[in-house]
């Protein structure tokens, strides 16, 4: 057998191939045997998705982790899927470059996992995500082949966008082997403004005042903090421009505020993201996304609905993006009925929004599709799955519509 074969307790079987061709071969074998696999990167997102119909085989991408090519003057990089974000950020950082992505535990989060889950952080507001800078990809399919698309240049319209077909696809159409990115320059300077408010409404209003372009932050969060609400706005740019913004902020914030500079500022956001680690088994986390323009009018309603029956342990609003990340304390004594009721209730009351269960144990998810309402094109999505994974071996059952 290829790779490292270990048998863990509970009879689970784990494979850790060391190359793309080994991985592809393993997929073909699993397909032949009809064994649904669980594909794993850093496993940081294991509580995301509908319950897998796995036979207990795990396939890890961690052994496929090289930097294939990095040309700083070209501002492009090609990385294998098992490389961690921390490792890649360090390498790019040496040349004052970066990828636009934040993860709760960068040392654990793999590039492949970040692409497959499509998760990102508040900096997406002004800074974009990996989806925006993805210029090439290589994917292993269950028929044992490896298909690439795109290339190493920043403009490319040769053939279909196979890169984004796999983005956010939870590895259900193929296993990402490597990806090519356009890298961005690290900002010359940054600061973060923090302000405190007693009411969510006032905090969100202040956040909305920061939206006009001249003073638009790259990340903007309003969160439940201590006994009130905290607004955090991150600014990047050059010193002179940032100075001007700083001077007008007090007017906009109208609250007790402080500013964090450079390393303090970036540490603040690292800690914020750390707090979003998804392996905590005591909270059930939801993502509620609405049109950004209506966040101000919806946020109080969301707060009331989520906190109605269960203790709210997290409530973070990203007004610019239109996203609420909320967690309630474990509802275990009433699983799965309690989570179903909460989610269905939210979906019914918040029409036009997408309510996703971001993290919860499998036992809580029975009777639920964690991904929100059925997309109009679900039939096409099922056909895509059938086309690329006819034996159903790739993270079977975890995706939208239990694909």
């Amino acid at each position: 057998m290829h790779g490292h074969l270990t048998v863990t307790r509970e009879g689970e079987r784990s494979e850790r191939p060391e190359s793309a061709s080994q991985l592809a071969e393993l997929l073909a074998i699993a397909a032949n045997e009809g064994n649904p696999l669980r594909i794993v990167g850093g496993n940081g997102a294991r509580l995301l998705g509908n319950p897998h119909r796995s036979t207990g085989w795990t396939l890890s991408t961690a052994g496929i982790n090289r930097v294939i090519e990095y040309e700083p003057t070209d501002m492009t990089v090609s990385v294998e899927a098992g490389a961690s974000l921390a490792e890649i950020s360090a390498i790019l950082g040496q040349h004052r470059q970066m990828l636009p992505i934040e993860a709760p535990t960068p040392a654990k989060a793999t590039i492949g996992g970040l692409l497959a889950t499509g998760l990102s952080g508040p900096r997406r507001y002004g800074g974009g995500t990996l989806r925006d800078v993805l210029i090439g990809i290589s994917v292993a399919y269950p028929d044992g082949t490896v298909g690439k698309a795109g290339g190493m240049v920043v403009k490319n319209v040769s053939g279909f966008d196979m890169m984004r077909i796999h983005y956010g696809a939870m590895g259900t159409l193929g296993v990402i082997i490597s990806a090519n990115f356009k890298v961005l320059p690290l900002p010359r300077a940054e600061f973060t403004a923090l302000a405190s408010y007693a009411e969510l409404g006032t905090a969100t209003q202040a956040a909305m005042r920061l939206r006009p372009l001249a003073a638009r932050p790259i990340a903007l969060v309003v969160r439940q903090f201590e006994s009130g609400w905290q607004l955090a706005a991150r600014y990047e740019g050059r010193d002179s421009g940032l100075k001007t913004i700083r001077s007008s902020l007090a007017d906009q914030l109208r609250a007790h505020s402080q500013t964090l500079d450079s390393t303090e500022s970036s540490s603040f956001w690292s800690e914020f993201m750390n707090g979003r680690a998804m392996d905590c088994s005591t909270e059930v986390r939801l993502g509620i996304s609405v049109a950004p323009g209506s966040i101000f009018t919806t946020v109080d309603k969301i707060l009331a609905l989520v906190g109605q029956e269960f203790r709210l342990v997290r409530f973070e609003v990203e007004p610019g993006v239109g996203l609420v990340t909320a967690s309630v304390e474990q509802l275990s004594s009433q699983y799965p009925h309690s989570l179903q009721a909460l989610v269905h209730g939210l979906r019914a009351q918040l029409s036009g929004s997408v309510v996703t269960v971001l993290a919860a144990p499998d036992v809580a998810k029975a009777g639920l599709d964690v991904w929100g309402d059925e997309p109009d094109t679900l039939d096409i999505m099922r056909m895509l799955k059938q086309e690329f994974d006819p034996r159903g071996i790739l993270n079977l059952g975890c995706f939208v519509g239990h694909i």
């Binding site: 071969e25 073909a28 397909a31 032949n32 003057t73 070209d74 501002m75 028929d143 044992g144 082949t145 490896v146 298909g147 698309a149 290339g151 240049v153 920043v154 403009k155 319209v157 040769s158 053939g159 279909f160 966008d161 196979m162 890169m163 984004r164 077909i165 983005y167 696809a169 961005l184 320059p185 010359r188 372009l213 001249a214 638009r216 002179s240 421009g241 100075k243 001007t244 993502g287 996304s289 609405v290 049109a291 323009g293 209506s294 239109g322 996203l323 996703t356 991904w371 929100g372 309402d373 109009d376 094109t377 679900l378 096409i380 056909m383 895509l384 086309e387 690329f388 995706f399 939208v400």
Partner: protein, 487 residues
């Protein structure tokens, strides 16, 4: 009644006789697009239909499917790779009458538009409220949003702002089964596979787009335009590399060479020095203080790269004039020759200087003047080969030179196309870049959306590639290799 007449009757019953063209004299203008004859063949459709609603399109698709005819979506016909030409006949669905901006939502910074809306008209409309649609191809006065979606269009400002796929949030489209479906939407948490991205850049091969929900970009506070002239293309290219690797992201970074300047300057008097080997047009935008600071840095970089002249525009009128030379450059080419072939290749930015040398060498070797005006910041070249179709041997030399150019660019790590798409023009070059497995994965997407292969056939894939039999044989071979027997 003949099958043909029945078809015309059926189409007329959907959109009315005034919206169905089927007489040869009416079809002539639809036999070609913006591509070069010889590189792309002209071809006549059976009929051209001009619908005004998605429902009409759904019914047309059903009629076409029932009659076993292909469907070719078409916007303004400005495409350069033959994407809107009906290579195997069939029905062209022209989207030009679906030209309404349906809704603009400034609060959410989006617009809902029909596919026939002209690119620049959308930006002009939203410009009144301080917004624009960022993808700005040179053809933007004529090309449509639907066409931009089909080709994943770029333009000079995509260096900073991204290409069409970065600005499309959702699409309504008609499927091969004649159903109207939506993909994507306004809120960020869309679930499922990114079928919006699958459709963008799919060259009309997966469905007919009937509405686009697009992102609007707020206009920047401050804009600066710098013209830097260099005595050689090489020094200009080095300046480009230096600017990009300094971590500066200009809003646009364009280059024009001496031959281009010869045509453009007498035509528009934009102020390009006639003795320059190349000029760079650098646009910076953002917050006022940032722009001022970055401008100083860029000027310093250009000086260090031995610029012979550097000028900053001091008014909007001056900025527009500097841009006019670039935006109207192709139009000025008629001063130099009666015909041209505009290429579209991409190379890594660090390989730009050697690529430009090679481009000139190809011109010398094939006795063809080649003018260059392009998105240097992206490494997206647009060598423009000048010729006279009436002169014996010219078009042959152009096609040979084109082959050499494409092969070279791919060889140094570049792409076949940065903006114009593959179409018919480059379909047979796909195997230079992609192997069978790569193409099979793309064919899988095509087969999913369009099992009968009715949407824009004979495009993008090499000849014979998406044929059902070929795919079945391949699947069998692979299965046997792994000992898997297809279910």
């Amino acid at each position: 009644m003949s099958a043909h007449n029945q078809l015309i009757r059926d189409l007329e019953s959907v959109v009315g006789p005034a919206s169905v063209f089927h007489n040869p004299s009416d079809l002539i203008v639809y036999e070609y697009d913006g591509s070069v004859e010889g590189a792309v063949d002209m071809a006549r459709p059976v009929a051209v239909v001009l619908p005004t609603t998605a429902d009409e399109i759904a019914r047309i698709v059903q009629i076409a499917s029932g009659a076993g005819l292909p469907v070719i979506p078409r916007g303004a016909g400005t495409g350069l790779s033959g994407g809107a030409v009906a290579q195997t006949g069939g029905i062209i669905i022209a989207l030009t009458r679906m030209d309404r901006i349906l809704e603009v939502d400034y609060d959410n910074e989006v617009a809902l538009v029909e596919p026939g809306v002209i690119n620049l008209e959308l930006s002009d409309f939203t410009g009144r409220n301080g917004y624009f649609f960022a993808p700005d191809p040179s053809s933007q006065r004529a090309c449509t949003i639907g066409g931009n979606v089909a080709e994943n269009s770029g333009g000079p400002h995509c260096l900073k702002y991204g290409v069409t796929t970065n600005h499309v949030l959702g699409l309504e489209f008609v499927t091969a089964a004649g159903e109207i479906k939506w993909t994507g939407g306004l809120s960020s948490g869309q679930s499922g596979y990114d079928l919006t991205a699958a459709l963008v850049g799919s060259e009309g091969m997966l469905g007919v787009v009937t509405k686009a929900l697009v992102r609007l970009t707020p206009a920047p506070n401050q804009v600066a335009v710098i013209l830097a002239a260099f005595s050689t293309i090489e020094s200009a290219s080095h300046a480009v590399t230096a600017i990009i690797s300094a971590g500066i992201v200009p809003a646009a970074l364009e280059m024009m060479d001496a031959l281009t300047i010869q045509a453009v300057e007498p035509a528009y008097h934009a102020g390009y020095p006639m003795d320059a080997g190349a000029v760079l047009l650098i646009e910076l935008d953002g917050r006022a203080e940032d722009v001022a600071e970055i401008e100083e840095e860029v000027i310093a970089i250009c000086e260090h790269a031995d610029a012979m002249q550097i000028r900053s525009a001091s008014s909007k009128a001056e900025r527009d004039l500097l841009w006019k030379g670039r935006k109207m450059a192709i139009a000025a080419m008629g001063r130099l020759a009666p015909n041209y072939y505009l290429h579209d290749t991409v190379v890594p930015r660090t390989r730009l200087p050697e690529t430009m040398s090679r481009v000139y060498q190809i011109g010398v070797d094939h006795k063809l003047p080649i003018a260059n005006m392009f998105h240097a910041g992206d490494g997206n070249l647009h060598p423009l080969m000048l010729f006279d179709r009436q002169k014996k041997g010219d078009i042959e030399r152009v096609l040979e030179a084109s082959h050499e150019l494409l092969t070279y660019c791919v060889g140094i790590g570049g792409a076949l196309t940065g903006e114009h798409g593959i179409g018919t023009e480059k379909r047979n070059y796909m195997t230079l870049v992609f192997n069978e497995d790569d193409l099979a994965a793309m064919a899988g997407v095509k087969a999913t959306f369009d099992p009968k292969g009715m949407f824009n056939p004979e495009k993008a894939f090499p000849a014979g590639y998406v044929c059902g039999e070929v795919r079945a044989l391949r699947a069998q071979a692979i299965a046997q290799k792994h000992g898997i027997y297809p279910m």
